[in-house]
Subunit: 477 residues, 2 copies
């Protein structure tokens, strides 16, 4: 724990893995490509879950649970879906000691099996809309994996809704994109760009895919959540129909939307620094750590008494850790809790006790600048205020970083330059060939066509042809 992470400037990828491992978020599993989410990482995920689940319920959704196993034939019913997912499937061929008649797919996503159930459940317009979410594990066979960012098994939520009209389904798709944006901004303190995916980047089976794209600390993009308008593709493949108010049978319109444990990786990369993790207070498993400081037993007694008083004041107000371990020095503890990204440290020594105060030390502001003394009186209020300031500053800083690394290149040379260190915001003609050529030239893909579009038009950054939309290009995780 006392050792250091690789500096970001030296090797960003190693820095990431070092932080995930040394902050005790996750470990490699014995099965290639799988991970173990350790208690500290899982607690972070629990807060992400809570923040999302609360918002899902507030927008009228309910949770349910659908089976892990999907008959292989289901996956094959939607043409684009099978093409997209076939190479990634894990397949069960033996069950209960016998070879199965039909192999079972371990769900890579659940549109198909949920579509099958919705066909049973939905009869009339009165049954609509169906607004269901599921928290589950999914499996997509991956060759090159990274903890949280790309693993063969991961945890996520997948919302699946069915509606009477295309308009309602479109509205739902965008509503959930808004929910994701709000969660990213307010809870994870991560600025995101909500937008539409290009045709070549959309979900296998969707009519339109929307995404929130975030910029990581190395200027690369991470797709942090997606929301898909599925049109009637799955309704037709699974025969999900309803009798409308005129007693006519119609196919429903469906959506799906998901956020996964990738979000943990995003939190690490957006806020972390060379001392380790930096967690936004709203998601931090431990929001405040109290570290007492003493030189001798006499001081120890005096300081510990104050620590107990502070504990009583704060324990019901914040997620608190009081670190009174005798076997470690204060400096060692500082390093450990910095590595683990605890937003606020409260230090208290004999002199502080005498003066009725403590020292606040902010994880996100290194050195002296992040420290100041605070009276013990009214401590609960001061802590809450400090945590809110930290939360807001983390967002502001991440937004500044994103803006500073988002360029508006005037030509293709500037474009190449731009995507080597951040995002390029540029006109695009809409032609998939241009998109493919750009990817080949620069490794950058269209992250999204932002919802927020300028009026007017301009020349495509690659081919110079007339373009009416600007896209965000970047290299991606």
């Amino acid at each position: 724990m006392a050792t250091k992470v690789t500096p970001r400037s030296e090797d960003y990828s190693r820095w990431y893995t070092d932080v995930v491992k040394m902050a005790d978020l996750a470990d490699y599993a014995p099965v290639k490509g799988c991970m173990v989410i350790k208690p500290y990482g899982y607690a972070l995920w629990e807060h992400i879950k809570d923040g999302l689940d609360r918002r899902f319920k507030a927008t009228g959704h309910v949770n349910a649970y659908f089976p892990l196993f999907i008959p292989l034939s289901f996956i094959q019913k939607e043409a684009e879906h099978v093409e997209g997912f076939s190479p990634e499937l894990a397949i069960v061929t033996v069950g209960g000691g016998k070879k199965l008649e039909e192999p079972l797919v371990v769900r890579p996503t659940s549109e198909t099996v949920i579509g099958h159930m919705y066909a049973k459940w939905i009869q009339s317009y009165r049954d609509l809309p169906v607004l269901i979410n599921q928290w589950a594990n999914v499996v997509r066979w991956e060759m090159r994996t990274r903890l949280f960012l790309r693993t063969t098994e991961f945890l996520w939520q997948e919302g699946h809704t069915a509606h009477a009209t295309a308009e309602e389904a479109q509205e739902e798709t965008l509503r959930m994109l808004d929910v994701y944006t709000e969660f990213a901004v307010e809870d994870a303190a991560i600025p995101v760009i909500p937008g539409r995916k290009s045709e070549s980047e959309k979900f296998a089976g969707a009519v339109t895919s929307y995404t929130i794209e975030a910029m990581m600390g190395d200027g690369k993009a991470l797709q942090a959540g997606t929301s898909h308008f599925l049109g009637q593709n799955f309704a037709q493949a699974f025969d999900i129909r309803f009798l409308d108010e005129n007693n006519e049978r119609q196919f429903v319109w469906t959506t799906s939307w998901g956020v996964s444990t990738r979000m943990v990786g995003a939190v690490v990369m957006v806020h972390g620094d060379d001392h380790g993790l930096v967690l936004p207070p709203k998601l931090a498993p431990i929001q405040v750590v109290v570290v007492p400081i003493w030189r001798d037993d006499g001081q120890r007694t005096v300081v510990l008494e104050s620590v107990r008083q502070i504990e009583a004041l704060l324990k019901d107000e914040v997620r608190l850790k009081v670190d009174v371990r005798d076997e470690y020095s204060p400096g060692w503890k500082f390093n450990e809790w910095e590595m683990r990204g605890v937003p606020l440290r409260i230090e208290i020594g004999p002199r502080d006790v005498a003066q009725g105060q403590v020292v606040f030390s902010r994880r996100d502001v290194p050195g002296r600048d992040g420290k100041h003394s605070v009276p013990i009186e009214g401590l609960a209020g001061s802590v809450q205020e400090e945590l809110m300031t930290i939360q807001a500053d983390l967002y502001r800083r991440a937004l500044q970083f994103q803006e500073a690394h988002t360029y508006a290149p005037r030509d293709y040379d500037e474009f190449r330059q731009a995507v080597s260190s951040g995002f390029a915001h540029a006109w695009w003609c809409g032609d998939a060939k241009c998109e493919a050529q750009i990817k080949e030239d620069t490794k950058a893909t269209i992250r999204c066509i932002p919802m927020d579009q300028p009026t007017g038009h301009g020349p495509c950054i690659h081919c110079g042809k007339h373009a009416t939309e600007r896209a965000i290009f970047g290299r991606a995780y």
Copy 2:
């Protein structure tokens, strides 16, 4: 929804399936043996989860997540474990389009993969105890399945702890048995008998298995939770060792414990009646439903105004549903919410409005006896009180039923009689042969050897030999 369930007296098994389906708890999945947990059933499970998770955290446990896939070789490392689980395994043989070198087991339980990780994580006595729980799906191939009670895939929590001494691990095993007992009694209103499993009924790989056994409405037993002292069996199989305070390498002592979605089935069978589900208020997704009554539009306006007032009073106090659907009659709504087991119905008509009152109608007390008028003033308090009474009465009634169907047979004939309609509490010599013969004769198994034992001894109910322990025998789900 308006149709009726099969009466319990006619066919208990059909009654159960009818209730689960008609109360909208679950449905059959397209894959044999798997189920879909529908939103209402899942909401019930969410409250079960909350009640357990809160207690796990209060006893010092943290959550984590381990992988779904386990190398087949892991399962084979513990001799009893492989024998117990081999016939039930689902096996992945293809991943990413290729045949796997080593087949992967879809976890039936996670002792092996967690043992592997603990061997990496645990080095010294300072790393102990490890107190981890996981919420997950598991798969055990089943031939004869029933919704919630026995399905190929089910949801559960599995706790896995590691300790420096046998005593500590034993203590943990029993602590969790207590936690389960407390949850069953306080939240699920289900009386349970905590006890030890016989050698032939214990978990594959355990030294000692403990269980909480509950009596269903047909007198049969359901194992509602188990806690296992695993000794050093898995520590030896996975080489989980630590340096003790004398710098000597020792194997750790481990435990595991679990409660699953079976608990939903237990709630259905313990409390349900011929009108459908009856839910204990602490677990009910909807605790109170308000059903307005009117004959004409004038009354409708007056009543709805009161309903809005009631809604404002109660919405932050209880999990409330206000059913103002115009297309259904009050009687139809009564039936629907009775089927779904909502503990308390509040009826309000024009005369109630005039008198400043509402009618409480208890789901657990049929007809007039369950109804009484309550003033709107102080309604929130009255509702809370009524819910507490209902919760307590459900437990009391279930306990009376269990006690009335638990017999102390004096001879084997009486024993046969006893286990045909309930539990037999009888002396047992401890010989597995007696146990097997009893099972062959009567289909009854030893549900547990209760923790609560009388002093003294007696003759074995089967062979008449000297016996020092009494066991609970019953037919089981």
